[in-house]
Symmetry: C2
Subunit: 500 residues, 2 copies
């Protein structure tokens, strides 16, 4: 074993170096979204490109390949977690070495610049100013897809970067089944004679009260605020900047405290996953998240299964009243109803659970066509609006509420969107399994004891890092492959509960 | 010229790469002081060490030496600003190549860790927990001094990093002359029958009012808030994180708005210098500050010459009253008196102008002895307290108010302190020269028009970057070499004014 332990040590060390650089690049990005002075976006794009280039160089030097080969050919062969690390590292290495460092830098620079152009274009409702940047980022994405290679279509190669193990065709098949079911559930909800509305809880909820409430909620669900932060940004996100530095952002609406409440529960779901990754494995695949879909399963589980439950509203109602005394005119049941209202709406991040995946299906259909070239960038707004009418029955009034609303494409993140729906399905399936595994779960949640649920997620998901592919991880955690039925049943039941 | 233009282009490119990395390392440090979650300091130290190591590697690769030699041997020889760049680059390269990258990383890691230990030790008033870190940082400093080389003593080599052109002996000679003069002026001030006190303006000044006032003051003096920020930290500082990203921090005391007012005027002096460096020269010595002493001359000029003047208090009084209506019970003259009170005090950053340099002289005497080994770390508190009694006539009650008060040694910044006094002297001399050059200066300042002064500083100091050594820059800007007389005359006059 001595002869192969050195290459493995070398891989470990390189992995740690890449983790440090990744965290530094992450800080550059986090700061860009939260604090960066407006005039400095160009310089920041250069900084990000440089760090991405250095990291790519370190990830792809030939000696990494040699260390990998030495470990792969070791006798006796490695097994267990170490063998899993080698498989993941090999896949990362082969994928990375296909892309020249120059392209990585150019793509990073272009997306760094596109991000601020997009923010301005969205504010000004001016798609034309963003269009050339989108065109450029698509051309980089196509170049990279060609270099990575794919069996059927370029989008496969992009998807592989976010959700390894899935092909475009598999997603298409899954989504084709989902679409009529989701539309059917949504139609049933829209047809209810007395559907509540989120506006039912309209009032004035000072930001200071929202912040105070969230700062008391976060430790209670298990988020360690001495190893993370909550800040403000236009576009809420969660960024893991190291084993003890998980940063979430949110935004505040003083007429609707649920914007920050569900924003934070969502990001905290991501944050709990990041904080639950084994710190001792920092730098190896075992210390990394399994996939974006698994990440999203955590955020949606905390946001929707926990945060939109009866027990959450009942248990937190006294605390909510302390934060917002004007709530006394409502009951916790009215709060629950407002939080679960199913409504047609334009903005994905504010969409209810039933219509949410229709927003994703739309984006997936459009971005596969953008990547293949079947849909031209200049035709995107019209295509968006047409499909939106078909899926959600609303006429999109402007691009800010339409195809300019999401940050992802400005980051060059083509292939990212389907992971949201995969996450929704996985989150519901995990929830079902947790309820079966923990007979006392309902009782503990009613008493605001989130420890058993978090511990179950830690053991079933977090502790494994990237050891298993997402599909295998779900199989292990729930005893069956990913299946949309759990999610659809939950949505159907919810619509029934709303009409009760 | 074609044959040598390529090496020069290479040097330019490497310089830009180092600027980007420097800004990224700077962000890691800025974030550590302002936002970093407590548990993440160890990881952050690793990140900072990595970036410092990469930068050091890039700065010292042999091809840099080859590009430099090619440019130095060019026929016809370069002259003007390009020749100045080559001189500075050569000096940087020769100095950097003497230090192995491993030592750079270790020192960076150690200081990253020491910083948080120091902050805790200061809070807990517990020197013993910081002592081993100080010992370690001193040993790295001595190692580096030995590698850099020096003619007389190791401290020379450290000083060269902050204030090129000065030797320890020169500073000792200068400070030996200053000490009796400063003590004499201070004694005169203490002996005044009716010395005002900063406490004369005691009251309640809500933080929100302070922030609003500062946000209106900063653009007025020329600080571009779209290319910089003002945030909060325990230890105020200013960090130039790129040509359009100058970040200042301050702290707020609701019983004394002058803490943030003078803190911000000081940091804004640094910030105006950073924002005034020629952006087109980013990556070359012409886009960098001349020295720490010159940097400090700018901060002290804005803080003391501008901010503690009659005209400042008179001109800003109506705005101060708008921010803090309770000030109406005072006159602007009382404000001026309180802001200029001369008082014995323990904390350097809160010290008045007359006693300030005595705090620096103390630190210089102690750190030269720490570096030489003449003073042991364990004996530092007693030595500090004894010298403090001698220079400032106060008995230090605890180490938090004594040798633990400053961040510098925890950063490994031995040789940094004397630049504060050099900056004070230079700031006063520049002020004198500006008044002679701008006959209308007094009138413009009374009407809160800071543009003529800023423009004079831009032309005399900022525009030259690091083209000249500090001494030559002062000679060019004021027509004479650095001389303490301007500063001492100003202090003497101030004490007279206070008794008037």
């Amino acid at each position: 074993m001595a002869s192969i332990s050195i290459p493995f040590q070398k891989l470990l060390q390189r992995g740690r170096e890449l983790s440090l650089l990744g965290a530094t690049g992450g800080l550059l990005g986090w700061d860009q979204e939260t604090l960066l002075p407006p005039k400095s976006h160009g310089f920041r794009a250069e900084q990000s490109a440089q760090i991405a280039g250095i990291a790519h160089h370190l990830a792809t030097t030939p000696e990494v390949g040699e260390w990998l080969s030495a470990c792969e050919n070791a006798k006796p062969a490695f097994d267990g977690p170490v063998a899993a690390c080698l498989v993941r590292w090999r896949r990362d290495y082969n994928r990375a070495t296909r892309i020249p460092v120059k392209l990585v830098e150019e793509n990073e620079r272009a997306s760094g610049l596109a991000r601020s152009v997009w923010a301005r274009a969205r504010k000004d409702n001016h798609f034309a100013s963003f269009a050339p940047h989108l065109e450029k980022l698509l051309s980089y994405a196509r170049q990279m897809a060609d270099l990575w290679g794919y069996s059927e279509q370029p989008y496969d190669a992009l998807l592989e970067g976010y959700e390894p193990g899935w092909t475009t065709l598999q997603i298409e098949t899954l989504f084709a089944k989902l679409q009529p079911r989701l539309m059917d559930i949504a139609q049933k909800a829209f047809a209810l004679p007395s559907m509540p509305s989120r506006k039912n809880l309209a009032g004035h909820y000072p930001r200071a009260g929202q912040e105070k409430f969230l700062q008391s909620l976060l430790p209670k669900i298990g988020f360690d605020l001495t190893a993370g932060r909550l800040d403000t940004s236009t576009h809420p996100f969660c960024s893991g900047l190291g084993p003890y530095d998980t940063r979430m952002t949110t935004r505040y609406d003083e007429s609707d405290f649920m914007v920050s409440l569900y924003g934070v529960l969502h990001e905290a779901g991501h944050g709990l996953y990041d904080q639950g990754l084994p710190e001792t494995e920092m730098g190896t695949p075992l210390g990394q998240a399994a996939s974006l879909g698994i990440h999203e399963s955590q955020s949606r589980l905390w946001e929707n299964r926990v945060g939109r439950s009866h027990s959450f509203w009942k248990a937190w109602w006294p605390e909510l009243i302390r934060a917002f005394p004007s709530l006394t005119r409502y009951s916790w049941e009215q709060g629950w109803l407002a939080a679960n209202a199913v409504e047609r709406s334009f903005i994905r991040v504010e969409a209810d659970e039933v219509t949410y995946d229709l927003h994703i299906l739309l984006r997936f259909q459009l971005e596969t066509r953008l990547v293949s070239g079947d849909l031209k960038v200049c035709d995107l707004p019209a295509a968006w609006n047409e499909l939106f009418q078909k899926l959600l029955g609303l006429e999109v009034p402007d691009d800010a509420k339409g195809c300019l609303q999401d940050i992802h494409w400005s980051l060059g993140g083509f292939g990212y969107f389907p992971t949201y729906t995969l996450g929704n399905l996985a989150g519901s399936q995990l929830w079902q399994a947790a309820r079966q595994s923990l007979p006392e779960l309902a009782v503990s949640l009613e008493s605001r004891d989130y420890h058993p649920l978090l511990q179950w997620l830690r053991n079933s998901i977090h502790a494994h890092g990237r050891r298993y592919l997402a599909g295998d991880l779900i199989q292990r955690a729930t005893g069956k492959p990913l299946d949309p039925q759990a999610h659809l049943s939950i949505l159907e039941q919810k619509v029934k509960d709303l009409s009760a």
